[in-house]
């Protein structure tokens, strides 16, 4: 099943998705990797305001290559997914703030599978390393927060148009492509080289 969804996403939008579905996104995409997740967690713990409204948000585990134009605005050169498992410690927080989709690569683990079901969000797999191709789905840079963290770790607010394709890797029904593949791979390994 192929779907085009608009951000902000509703809970129904994502609860209708199943692993293997293909998704394209339109609207705001926020990047966040290790430092931004840590920062968001700190702000929430201190009861401080977040720079962006995260209810319904799509978070891209990514750090773009951006070039600053003479007028001070930004041009996005390329962008592709980073390895999502590093953000696994924030699975619960992501759900609590109302984020509806994570985009990344390599899959996530049990805490994310649980949080996807409990809070209603999905994990979307992008083609790894395909930064020039994925950049075709980003039409502008709205703005950037936390640039002092460095270009990759800052939180970029990007305008997406038919951004994808992404494969639903973890859905809200406790299904994970990665978990199934792992279980089958372990069985295969045991048959080739027994422990």
């Amino acid at each position: 099943m192929e779907k085009v969804l608009n951000v902000p996403l509703s809970e129904n939008d994502v609860r209708d998705l199943h692993i293997g579905d293909i998704v394209y996104l339109n609207g705001h995409i926020f990047t966040a990797r290790d430092m931004a997740h840590m920062k968001i967690k700190g702000l929430i713990n201190e009861d401080k305001a977040l720079p962006k409204e995260l209810r319904g948000a799509a978070i891209f585990h990514a750090g773009p290559v951006c070039l600053k134009k003479p007028d001070g605005s930004w041009k996005l050169n390329v962008i592709g997914p980073t390895t999502s498992i590093r953000m696994e410690p924030y699975a619960e927080m992501v759900g609590r703030v109302g984020i509806r989709a994570l985009i990344g690569k390599g899959g996530m683990d049990q805490d994310t599978i649980d949080a996807c079901e409990n809070y209603g969000y999905v994990y979307l797999q992008a083609a790894p390393g395909c930064a020039a191709k994925l950049a075709q789905g980003i039409i502008s840079v709205f703005d950037v927060n936390w640039l002092e963290l460095g270009m990759p770790e800052a939180m970029w607010d990007l305008e997406a148009d038919h951004f994808g394709p992404f494969v639903v890797g973890i859905d809200t029904h406790r299904n994970s492509i990665y978990k199934t593949i792992r279980e089958n791979a372990i069985k295969k390994m045991d048959s080739i080289y027994p422990a």
């Binding site: 050169n77 390895t83 690569k105 083609a127 390393g129 270009m151 390994m189 080289y193």
Partner: protein, 294 residues
């Protein structure tokens, strides 16, 4: 050897490395797409080949992550390339300004990013003196770091290698590492395996094997050649596939480097390399001729 010629050649080689992937890996990706039976994996492999074409056409980086730069330099008598380190640093800075490399090198603890892709120990350069060599070999590799997250190392022993059972202890460790890595190292990946020395030696051998060898080559040691093929095929039979979302090819090549070790130990380092094989190499002869070697 004229320092200017050397510096320009090294600079150009660094730029070539960051603006594409090596032709051997591109060929293996195309072959993997022809063989692939899973529609999801076909779509992932097609995206990767499309990405290479788009990056070339639009003069952009293939991948947003610049990876981590390591260079291997071998030299002989009287031709030590003293300008190499400076030339690589300048190329890194140029490539960063042009948007080929995202500024990504940070302090390991404070995580401070100076924004120019340099820092303490960067680029990492491995020098090797070869008596009598009448040329300088220079290979630069920008290896992605999602791949590093899956790496593993273990100090084996005679018993745990299972040398009496066709090295099944070693082989199982490689497969366990691959399963734990799953889609993290941007498959289809290559794997470098360093065996021998102590921990530091094995780790360096693993990076050198997968970064400096042609992924289509045949190991001159026939036992290692057959081990490389067996491991590659066993790994692919696991069904992990391109991007880690299932399919026939998760591994394009296994390359093994060995060194003698102490009789008590057998250190093994497993080093993933994503499909974005940004690497290039040249041979600079003492008379000024330059040849492409990677």
């Amino acid at each position: 050897m004229n320092d200017h010629i050397l510096k320009d050649a090294i600079h150009d080689t660094c730029i070539r490395a960051v603006t594409g992937i090596s032709p051997d890996v591109r060929e293996l990706l195309s072959q993997a797409l022809v063989r692939e039976t899973s529609p999801t994996a076909q779509s992932m492999l097609r995206s990767m080949l499309d990405d290479l074409d788009i990056a070339k056409k639009e003069d952009k980086a293939v991948c947003q992550s610049p990876g981590y730069p390591t260079a291997w330099i071998s030299f002989g008598d009287g031709n030590f390339p003293g300008v190499a380190c400076e030339a690589v640093k300048e190329a890194l800075s140029d490539a960063t300004k042009k948007g080929y490399l995202r500024p990504s090198m940070v302090d390991p603890l404070t995580r401070y990013n100076p924004g120019n892709n340099t820092g303490k120990g960067v680029p990492n350069i491995e020098y090797k003196y070869v008596p009598g060599q009448q040329y300088v070999d220079f290979i630069i590799s920008f290896k992605g770091c999602g791949a590093e997250l899956g790496n593993a190392m273990k100090i084996f022993t005679t018993a745990t290698l299972k040398i009496d059972q066709e090295l099944e202890g070693l082989k199982r460790f490689v497969l366990e590492t691959v399963i734990n890595a799953g889609g993290k190292p941007c498959p289809p990946f290559g794997i470098g395996i360093g065996i021998g020395g102590q921990m530091d030696v094995a780790a360096k051998l693993s990076r050198e094997a997968i970064s400096t060898r042609d992924w289509r080559d045949e190991n001159p040691d026939s036992k290692l050649a057959s081990l490389e093929k067996e491991l590659r095929d066993s790994i692919n039979s696991l069904g992990i596939g391109a991007a880690g979302t299932g399919g026939d090819t998760v591994c394009l090549a296994v390359k093994i480097g060995t060194a003698a070790t102490h009789t008590a130990i057998a250190p093994v380092a497993i080093n993933f390399h994503c499909w974005v094989a940004r690497r290039a190499g040249i041979r600079i002869y003492d008379d000024g001729r330059i040849e492409t070697i990677l």
